[in-house]
Amino acid sequence: MFGYLRVFLMVALLAGVAAGVVNWGLQMLGTAPLILAAEVYEASAPAEPAAQTTTHTHEDGSAHTHDAEAWAPADGWERNLYTLGANLVTGVGYAFLLTAAIVFFGKGADWRRGILWGLAGFACFSLAPSLGLPPELPGTEAAPLVERQIWWIGTVIATAAGLYVAARLRNIAGYAIAVVLIALPHVIGAPHPETPGGLAPEELEQKFILVAIAVSLVFWLVLGMLTGAFFKRYATDEAAAA
C-alpha cells in the first residue's frame, strides 16, 4: 500500500503544484485586479462604522463578530504570496481527489483522458456550483454562509455522482439517472439573499463571473492533463489502473 501511496502522492503533488501556480498566475492577471476594484466600493461603503470590531446579525438570526484586528496579509506582494499559497494547497487538494478518482474508476489515465477528467472536475467543482452561486466579488449580498456551503458541497457530490453513473453504465438508464442527479440541486435551488445586490457595479460583477469561470476552466484542464500524463508515466500498473 505504501508503494502505491508514494507513487500517487508524487503524481498528485507534481500536477497539483504546477496547476496551482498556473491558477495563481491567471488569477493575478484576471481576477485579482477586479477584486481590488470591488474593494474600493466596499471600503467606501458607509454601512459599518469605523469600530474595531463589528457584530452583525445574519438573516438566519445568528450573530457573529468580525474582528477588525484579525491578522490579514498586507496588500501587495504579501497578499499575492498568500494567494499563491492558498492556490497551491487548493491545487494539491484537487489533485489528490482527482488522482484518487482515477484509481477508484480503475481505467488508468493519460493526458488525453486527463483532459476529460479535468472537464469532469470543472463541471463538478466550478460550473455546477456557479450556476446557482456565481463567483462573487467582495461586498456582494449573499444568503447565510452555512446554507451556501451546504448547497455547494451537495451540488459537487450530486454532479460527481451523476457523471460517475453516466460514465459507468453508459446506457439510457445511466444517462437518465445522471440527468436527475445533476439537475437535482438546481431544482432544489441555491440559497439566495432576500435583498440581492452588491456594492460593486453590476458590470464589474458580470466581468468577474466570466473571468473567474474561464480561469477555473483553464486550471482544471491543466490539472487534468498533467494528472493524466503523470499517472501514465508513474502509476500505470495493473492494480492502479485495473
Binding site: 500500500m1 491578522w71 497578499r79 456551503q149
Partner: protein, 62 residues
C-alpha cells in the same frame, strides 16, 4: 499445477488492487481536508489569508 498458479496470481492481483484502493482512499481524505481548509474553514485568519483565492475559485465566502 497451472490452476494453482493462476489462483495465486489472481489472489495477489486482488491484494494489489486493494492496496491501490486503500492508498487512493488516504489521498481522497487528505484532498478533502486540504480543499475544506482552504475553501470552507471559518477561522478569520485562514479566511483573510486565502481570501482572494476563495473568491476566484468560487468557494462560498463571507
Amino acid at each position: 499445477m497451472n490452476q494453482i498458479r493462476s489462483v495465486t496470481q489472481t489472489g495477489s492481483k486482488l491484494n494489489a488492487r486493494s492496496a491501490a484502493l486503500a492508498a487512493a482512499m488516504i489521498l481522497a481524505v487528505f484532498g478533502g481536508v486540504f480543499v475544506y481548509g482552504i475553501g470552507f474553514a471559518g477561522a478569520d485568519v485562514l479566511h483573510n489569508a486565502a481570501h482572494d483565492a476563495r473568491h476566484a475559485n468560487n468557494f462560498p465566502c463571507h
